[in-house]
Symmetry: C2
Subunit: 283 residues, 2 copies
């Protein structure tokens, strides 16, 4: 079951959904019910946006959606979102005043989740590094390109106990990812997952895999004022999501209205649902 | 440098390029010069098709392109392609007569390369299993769903020497993939690469990775009449391509006309260029 629907809108206005139906876009999603989270980014529902919208539809998380190509609009600030998710949503889509307003809303209790990608964190070119979000996210972003592509194995490694990850078999069945944004956890934040890369080679027909000495923070949580702030430094969608997208003992077929169908692992879906629900203040 | 260009065409006709410019599609590509290979599938140039078209543009392989949603047309049979590449191109896009004609062309010397995906080999539902291509491809396809998703590491393992792979560092730097079509090599075919899956777990803070006992054929070459037939049982594009897409000691930025830009590893690009050139009869 899901509780959002597709509108032909250039922006989305929840709590009554007075959406601008005259605008060109056909890919914003506006929740029929009281919205809980606002999801920004990941191109489009017929592209990478199908993953997280599919997960939220499957897990009954009400959401509004704005694709990458649409700028953030001031009326969105009037909606009482429990969390905003930014995932490959370019910083230039916000005005400085809008980012300031988001910071104030987090201070007052709204959650903020940033998910990795080429236009998340620093990304290709210091996307969010020099914005005010650097002051509230639980990680220190790099100057310049922070992208790490892993053509050899990179496994998620549990760093500490937390409600987001405790129900999931990270030790028994650690999943692989394909890349991540390199960030540093802030001193007052908690690193829940690391990315542990491996060097692999084969000699006399035998593979040898050796873990890198130093892992990278992958899932980091913190707070700013009354709001929870979460950084997940790999992508929810291919290619960086890697094997994680299939992580599970069951395959889920999920589809948000207007989005592509996705076939995903149940543990993968649960991880993101837990991340969103925690950041939104649940539990 | 590349030698193909974008046309607004529903089908493509090379050697003079008398393309049907009245048709709806804007994503067929028609070579200006004498075409060498015909690439069928992978959705679109603004999607997964950007990878192989980018590789061929970068490596100066002339090609015509037909996206997944466009049916194969008889005039294509009149073009003297040195090879046809089918990559996630649904079997229903061919008539039985067209598949018969392709088999005859391979017998006479044209190459055929099938690249893996959800509508390659058996795919989701016996896509090519019961077609005449099963008689000429170098692998035995499964009945029903042959898809293997790997949320834990899966490495490419060199099985024998061959011009497609000998210049590439498979032993020194084996790349990871995210999944593949499960096929069996035919007796008269040569398996060049296996997919070797690993079971990973973590105990007392230490990762243990154990290779599966039995690997799966991933790159298999054979011949039919005078033609070379090649099966590569994972995808050229995310998500199955996994880390392989970044395999290299240099990052290449490649773009075919009308396609998205892709950032890819130089060894990854070389592997596919070698595969295409070999199948097309070069070397």
């Amino acid at each position: 079951m899901h509780n959002s629907f597709l509108i032909g809108a250039g922006a989305l206005f929840a709590n009554g959904c007075t959406c601008d139906k005259t605008a060109a876009s056909t890919e914003s999603v506006c929740s029929k019910d009281k919205p809980t989270v606002l999801y920004l980014g990941d191109s489009a529902l017929k592209g990478p946006g199908a993953y997280l919208t599919g997960i939220m539809s499957f897990h009954n998380i009400a959401f509004d959606y704005l694709p990458t190509r649409e700028k953030f609009t001031d009326p969105l600030l009037n909606n009482n979102y429990s969390a905003i998710i930014m995932s490959d949503y370019p910083a230039r889509n916000f005005s400085p005043a809008q980012l300031n307003a988001i910071v104030e809303k987090v201070r007052a209790g709204m959650g903020l989740l940033m998910i990795g990608g080429w236009t998340s964190f620093a990304g290709v070119n210091s996307e969010y590094t020099n914005t005010i979000l650097s002051q509230i996210l639980p990680v220190i972003m790099q100057q310049g390109d922070d992208r790490v592509n892993c053509y050899q194995p990179c496994l998620l490694e549990k760093a500490s106990n937390h409600q987001i990850i405790d129900s999931l078999p990270f030790d028994r069945k650690p999943p692989a990812i394909g890349g991540f944004n390199r960030v540093t956890a802030k001193n007052d934040a908690a690193t829940l997952l690391f990315a542990r890369r491996f060097e692999a080679h084969r000699k006399a027909g035998v593979f040898k895999l050796t873990p890198f000495e130093k892992p990278d923070p992958l899932l980091v949580v913190g707070s700013y004022g009354k709001g929870r702030v979460t950084a997940f430094a790999t992508d929810v969608a291919p290619h960086w999501v890697g094997g994680l997208v299939d992580w599970g003992d069951k395959t889920i077929t999920a589809q948000a209205p207007g989005a592509n169908t996705v076939e995903i692992g149940n543990w993968y879906a649960q991880l993101f649902a837990n991340m969103i629900n925690y950041t939104a203040g649940r539990g």
